[in-house]
Symmetry: C2
Subunit: 300 residues, 2 copies
């Protein structure tokens, strides 16, 4: 017998990481409806939006309206991405439960993404973490380009570890390890996660895979073999890859839930409700959602 976790937590990032990478602007009502439907699917965590300046991500300029407009469920954590204190103010106004901060493992990617070096970014993030904690919010960190960078290629695992160390030292509650451009392969995941487990408490680590090269579910399986129990997904593969237009981005929550369920791993998520939610939001997009479960759902 393979020894895998009996249950897993899925964190839905579609309304944020997905929609911020969709060309089409979705109206506020459709976003609210999307999140309300996701809330009814059995998910325990939804990242609602991003409080980044609308100049950078116009797709999410209605962040406060969305967060205020949804029907909240008590057993669900509603999170949002926050880049700085200005964003934190809006996130607090919108009353999110958890604040997410982000940092790249790659110096060049961090610079291109937020126009700051990694070292210059830490103090900005520390302010956000401290401010969020003062308001009683939990904080999630994202570390991107862990398995490869569009500018630097492979990132040295020691460099990755050092950024992780610094993020945990800031007081974050969970760190999501991101394969931003979908280059991670199962052997690499095995190696990186082996190192991660040695240094950090596995219960505070999540995996954020992209399916750009079709390896997200294989990588997920390897992480399960290592006992990891928290995985990010985006409904239907919403979003695509920011570095390869037309290619897949975030692993689809529905494909993830399907595989886990088939393997006998409990997620608490109802797959039919997920794909029905996918069919609804798809009407607002310029192309069909790319996941396998959505391909099958459209034929029903």
């Amino acid at each position: 017998m393979v020894s895998l976790p009996q249950d897993v937590t899925i964190k839905e990032v579609g309304p944020r990481d997905g929609l911020q990478n969709e060309k089409t602007l979705i109206d506020t009502e459709a976003k609210i409806s999307l999140i309300n439907q996701l809330s009814e699917s059995g998910l325990s965590y939804i990242e609602l939006t991003s409080f980044v300046h609308p100049k950078w991500i116009p797709q999410l300029k209605d962040a406060v309206e969305v967060a205020k407009g949804i029907d909240r469920k008590n057993d669900l954590t509603y999170a949002a991405l926050v880049p700085n204190l200005k964003g934190l103010e809006r996130a607090i106004e919108a009353d999110v439960d958890e604040v997410s901060i982000f940092m790249s493992a790659s110096e060049t990617h961090n610079q291109k993404n937020i126009n700051k070096s990694i070292d210059e970014t830490y103090p900005v993030l520390q302010e956000v973490v401290d401010g969020a904690k003062q308001e009683g919010k939990s904080v999630r960190g994202y570390i991107s380009t862990v398995f490869g960078c569009p500018y630097e290629g492979k990132i040295d695992v020691n460099q990755v570890m050092s950024v992780c160390d610094n993020l945990f030292s800031m007081g974050i509650d969970e760190l999501s390890i991101g394969d931003t451009i979908g280059v991670a392969n199962p052997v690499q995941v095995h190696n990186v996660l082996s190192s991660m487990k040695e240094r950090f408490d596995q219960n505070h680590l999540a995996l954020h895979f992209h399916d750009t090269r079709g390896m997200a579910l294989a990588n997920t399986y390897v992480a399960l073999e290592h006992g990891f129990r928290t995985f990010d997904g985006s409904l239907g593969g919403l979003g695509g890859c920011p570095y390869a237009k037309g290619a897949s981005g975030n692993v689809a929550t529905d494909d993830l839930v399907h595989m886990l369920t088939e393997m006998g791993i409990e997620t608490g998520v109802n797959l039919d409700k997920l794909t029905n939610t996918g069919l609804a939001i798809e009407k607002h997009l310029d192309k069909p959602l790319p996941s396998k479960q959505m391909e099958l759902a459209r034929r029903m």
Copy 2:
């Protein structure tokens, strides 16, 4: 360290299993050009066509012309599917190196597929095996619906084993274990392959995964963990799923080669040559090839 095989053999089934499931009829010249390009990509095995009666598969009615028209390379095995003695005659006329026979693990699927029960099929296959052997041809068996059947659902592993036993008793040289409708999950693959390894010599077993639910590469990884070293693929995912129009079928050879190469496993296959071959055949189809590597190649 994970212990995986150092090298793997990829068997390209696109010109047969792929094209027989494409709606578009491809002309003979384009098929010959496809196979010649595949021959130049470093593959050591190509299944060229099927000598099934053209009434059943009009897509491959030019089987003899294709097999006779290609440029053969000495270090490559050219195979073809053969359902009966009439087909074997044509395969011998076309001078293929290896003959493939097929059988379903599911009684209902076998009945619907070839209008015979499993027991009625054995004598027909035995004639083909004997005839092929007399001509000095090696024989490959396919067993389909091993992990699930569109009519019967899950197939009992003892039923699968019994069909495998009978096929090996006929004198076949290799057996390809097929997930015909793409329902296998990694835990199931682990369990089935554990049983298979106990009963049969692993060196005579190949894996034939479909990617209908996105699990083909995860399943491949599990098979590699078990030491399996032969995998079937279809260029670009050519073919799609015969039981779910618009959904994915055979795992794409290019996605398979990409993952294996990235993990440091030798395939001998040049990925760029594969995707260029995909771009060429795609012009003859009514839709883009669905693989991830083709998605990326189209952007270059």
